[in-house]
Every structure is written in C-alpha cells, then in structure tokens.
Symmetry: C2
C-alpha cells in the first residue's frame, strides 16, 4: 500500500493519456475533481491487488459522459460517492475497494474521487490496461464476469440500478440512459470478489499510468525524447513519424469516428500513414499495409513534447510520432481478439501483435 | 370486492379502447396474456379503492413497448410478476395491491396478468381515466406523487430500478431504456399508500371501462346505436359524423403523429373536421374551430359498430362518429391543464371543457 497524493495524481493523469490510445476522454476535468477530493480528504491509499482479501468486494468506478458534455461541465464528487453507497444499499454488500475500469483517459482518475470522498482504497489494477469505448470491453468479460448489478447516478439526482442479461445489454441500457440524462454520470459496475479481481484484472495498471506519466515528465525535464522513453519503458514500437495532412472526422452515436492521414518525416519521408479511430485509435496503415490494430494500443504523441494527442483533437499540422504498445496478453487470446479486435469495430483486418506486424 | 373473470375481462378490453382516446396501445395482446393468467390462476379480485387500507402499499403496473414491437410480439407474464417482486425486494416493502396506470388501451389489462399470477387484487382505479403517452401524465403527479422508485423488466432478462429526480426524468430514462431494449417492457411504478391512492387516483376507472365495453356489446346485440349508448353513459358530446378523406401520419420518436381529415355525413354534410393526434387524439377542429382538446377524451368510433378506431389505424374511407368525453375533474384544474393540456403537446390552443366548447 502507498498513498497517492496530488503529485502522483498528476503523473497518473499524464500517463493515462498514453494508455487512452487516442480516446478515453480528457482526464483533465476528472483530475481536478480527484485533486479537490484529495485536498479535502487526504491522499488515497493505492493497494497492490495481492493485498486485497479474496473474499473482499471490489467494484469499478467510471464516469460516462453524454456526447459533448464532459468538457464543458464539471461533474460532481457527490455522484461518485453515491454510486458506491447505492450499490451497497441495494445489494446489501460492502465494497471495501474501488478500482478503475480503464487506466486510459478520464476513468483512470475518476475512482480517486470516490476513494478519497468515501474513504476506501483503490486497487492498483484496471479492466483493460488501456481505454475502450464500450463497457463490455473489459478483461472480466473474458472470464464471464458480469457488469451488473451496477448503479449509475447523474447530476440531476437520477439513480439507475441495473441487472442485465449480458454485459452488452448493460452497455446498451447505460448508453441510452446517459443519453437521456444529457449529462455526466458516475457508475459503479462489475462488482467482484478479491479473488476474482486477482484473476481477471490487469495488475498494476495505475502504477503503469503513473510510471508513464513520470517517464514523460522526467524526459521533458532532461530534454531527452519522451517518445523514446515511453517506447523503451513499454516495449513499444515506433510505427511512424510524420505530419498530419488531413483528418476525416464525424460524430456518430456520440462517437468520434474517422481517419487521420499523415505524411512522413525523417526516416519516414515519402511514406504515408493512416490512423483509423472510433474514439480510440483502432488501426494504423503504413503505405497501405496494416501495421497495428486494436486491442494493441496506438497513440499519436507530439514529437517534441511527447504529449499524447487524442483522436478528437488531432488536426492538420501536428507533427507526431505514432507508437504501438502491446496490449495485455489476455486481449491477445482468441476470445480477447473476438471481443475487442478490429472486426468488433467493423474493420476487415486480422489482428497480429504490433511488434510482429510492424516489422 | 368482486371477481373479474374472462367475460368481464372482455368487456374491460373493449371499453378500454374507448378510454384510450385513440391511443394507449392495442389491448388485444394484453388481453390474451391476462386471459391466459386468469385461466391458469383463477379470476382476479377487483377491489373498490375504499376497501384498501390506508397503510397498504399500492403500485401501478404498466407495459411499455418499443415502437412497433408490441403488436408483433407477445409479452411474457414473467416480467409482469418480476417487476412487482423486484420492487418489493429492492424497497423492502410489500405491495398488497396493484393498479392500472391508465384505464385506456393496453394498460387497462396488463395489471391483470400481474394480479392473477402474483395472487394480489387489483384496485378499481387508474391514474388517468383515459390514456396518455408519457408516464408523468397521471393524476398522482398533480399531488406531488413520485413515479419512482420504479422497476422495469424486459423480455431479455434486463431489470432496471430507477429513482428519479422528477417524474419527467423517469419518463426520459424509461423511454430511453425501452428503446435500448428493442422489446416490450413491464413496469411497476408510482408506489403509494392506500391513503394516497384514495386521494390521487381516478376512482372506479376499471369498472368504467367494463361498463363502456358492456354498453357497446349490449347495444350491438340489441341493434341500437353503440355510439349513442356511450354518449348517454358518459355525458359525452357528439362532435361530428363523417367520412375519413385523408390521413397525415408520421412516426417520430416512436410516436404516431398527424391529423385525420373528415368530411361530414348526415347533419354534418358539407362540414369538415380535423382530428389531431400524437398517439392519442389530442384536439378536434370543426370547420376550423377548436371543439375539443386534451385532457378531454376525443374518440373516433365506427358509426355502425361503435368500434373505437385508434389513431394509428384510422384511414381513408372509415365512417366514424367523433365523440368528446369529459375527462376526470382533476385534469380540469390549472395544474391538470398545464400538465396534460394542448400546450403540453405543442398545440397553440386554449383548453375549455368539451361540453362548453362544442356548443
């Protein structure tokens, strides 16, 4: 167990944008909320997953935003505590630990608000090792883990408690509900035991986000390359270095969908890359050849600062390194590829590990 | 207390289509389900609202259909019991009585399925004295009654428990959820005490539906006019007799919205009528003058048989009597008109009681 203070939270926030793989939502607002909660209630204990008793109850905390709302409106800490308390009240169980559903983007930091305000520790793990756009796309789904019973609370005071037939149904209901609310919503979902958490979750995901954030920060301070440091830290692959020439982007069902087209710089001069995104970056083609796909992580990082550029913000003129990072091994199983591979998102591509494919 | 058997259920079903005011959903499928439950479990006790103890708990049972689904797919009795049991489990209360939310259309009969299968009596009342297209449009709303906690269960096995900030939010969440389910859903909502039920509900609404159904059936058998009999029974007003010339109808947000244009017959020869509908018939204009609006009931009945013609089925060639029936007095208060009058539905019209307006 160690305590996460404001400084550690800042590193986690920065690192989460790398694990966001182009999506996951801007963690900035979530960080402000978590920082406020830490200032008010003190640092948050982050516990190693092995420290969690097998019979303890753990639950994911995550925020969901109605399209376009999150960046304009600060969510409230109140809902992030309410979802935990309502889940406890309605299930009759006590949840002694909370956990991030995704260590990528906004939801890497939202659980800190719950943890600080409710006085419970955070488990150093997540259900993705990255970010994904649908709530069934988590490693517990691969083990038959259930998203529900879950609670969703919006800022208007509406509270929904759901038991769903499948995790895909939980996604459908929750997405519809957050759309109806027209607001941000906090959720507590995937209740599981400590034993299940140890088996099903990506261990050390929060520490990884922090480590990546620290790596970028230190490289910036030392005037070395943050991109190179991230690649070294994560056995990542440099897929391309180039300038954004054109972005095709449309909003559909509240998703940011499209392609970014890049022309090469340096050793990639004269070559081209297309990055396909649906909230997250999901596939990269270099000179017409697929070099990386989901569930591996694909991230555009600004060449000099290493700043990860989200798919919804990338635009003409950005000079970026496109990097591929290996996903958690569980995503590389047949079930993992079926759940979250390129075909799930409608791309007619075969998944192969990024480190092989990009050779 | 008296027992509702198959024959009484048939009269209630027919009468509910009058109270449906052009909408409320086709009760035929709901009747089949309720009849099956009565055959299996025996007749259902219908209790006068004055017999309900003040401290007993009462709850509305209603079905909601995703657009276009209900007529094709038989809902299951299972969900109509599940919503009651889940509400009891999650609130820790026992509901000894169920009640119809609306005595018009489908939801006049859906509570009979719950009542027969769960072995609880039905209260002879409803929350409208008619049908309306939104769940906040009930008389309990006029008293500050809350739609939630409520439970919704669909045929896929998904169960949603909602506590909402307002009844309009309950409507928004439930509508979104039933849309996501793509299926029928059963709901248990507006939990209230016996004392509240006595104050807030339209007394005798189920008996009224039965009475109207019996009136039409007996008039048909006696070869007298069912339309005249219904008008006499309910102090109704004949607004028009005519032939349907044209129907403008569109589907929007799952609602059937439009106008039916009629040319006069008999004493109305040479005159014209337009009936405006949004699921239910909501306003009638005769020769350009408004002669009836919601919350009063407006119904097109086939001239010879007295068969009520729903707004979604009315078409060229139908020969109908358009009748206006006075709504429950509570709808005629300022609050009632604000909640469910013509302006709520976007019509720039003033409400006046149909018996005055049509003079």
């Amino acid at each position: 167990m160690r305590l996460i203070d404001e400084a550690a939270l800042a590193d986690i926030t920065l690192g989460s944008t790398v694990l966001g793989s182009g999506g996951g939502g801007d963690p900035y607002i979530g960080m402000l909320l978590a920082r406020e909660a830490i200032r008010r209630h003190g640092p948050v204990p982050l516990v190693d997953i092995e420290e969690v008793p097998d019979d303890a109850n753990v639950v994911f905390i995550a925020g969901l935003g109605a399209p376009g709302v999150l960046i304009e409106k600060l969510p409230r800490a109140e809902e992030y505590v309410r979802v935990l308390r309502e889940l406890e009240r309605l299930t009759g169980q006590t949840f002694a630990y909370v956990c991030a559903a995704e260590a990528g983007g906004l939801n890497a930091v939202t659980p800190f608000t719950t943890a600080a305000a409710a006085g419970v520790p955070i488990v150093d793990a997540d259900g993705m090792g990255r970010a994904f756009p649908e709530l069934q796309l988590v490693t517990p789904t691969l083990y038959g883990g259930r998203a529900t019973p879950m609670v969703m609370a919006d800022e208007h005071g509406n509270v929904m408690y759901l038991t769903s037939a499948t995790n895909a149904w939980a996604e459908a209901y929750t997405r519809a509900a957050v759309g109806a609310s027209g607001a941000n919503a906090a959720t507590a979902l995937y209740p599981m035991t400590g034993a299940e958490a140890k088996e099903r979750l990506v261990h050390g995901a929060i520490s990884l986000a922090e480590d990546l954030g620290r790596t970028i920060r230190e490289a910036r301070a030392a005037h070395t390359s943050p991109v190179a440091a991230v690649l070294a830290k994560q056995r990542g692959v440099l897929l391309f270095t180039g300038k954004v020439e054109e972005v095709e982007r449309r909003n559909e069902r509240g998703w940011t969908i499209g392609k970014a087209h890049l022309s090469g710089l340096d050793e990639y001069r004269g070559r081209r890359m297309t990055v396909h995104f649906q909230n997250e970056n999901l596939a990269a083609e270099r000179d017409g050849q697929v070099v990386a796909t989901s569930p591996d992580l694909i991230m555009s990082m600004e060449i000099d600062t290493g700043e990860p550029i989200p798919a919804e913000e990338i635009r003409y003129g950005y000079r970026v390194a496109v990097v591929g990072l290996p996903c958690d091994p569980r995503w590389r199983t047949a079930a993992g590829i079926e759940l979250a591979g390129p075909r799930h998102f409608g791309y007619d591509m075969e998944y192969r590990p990024v480190e092989e494919m990009s050779r």
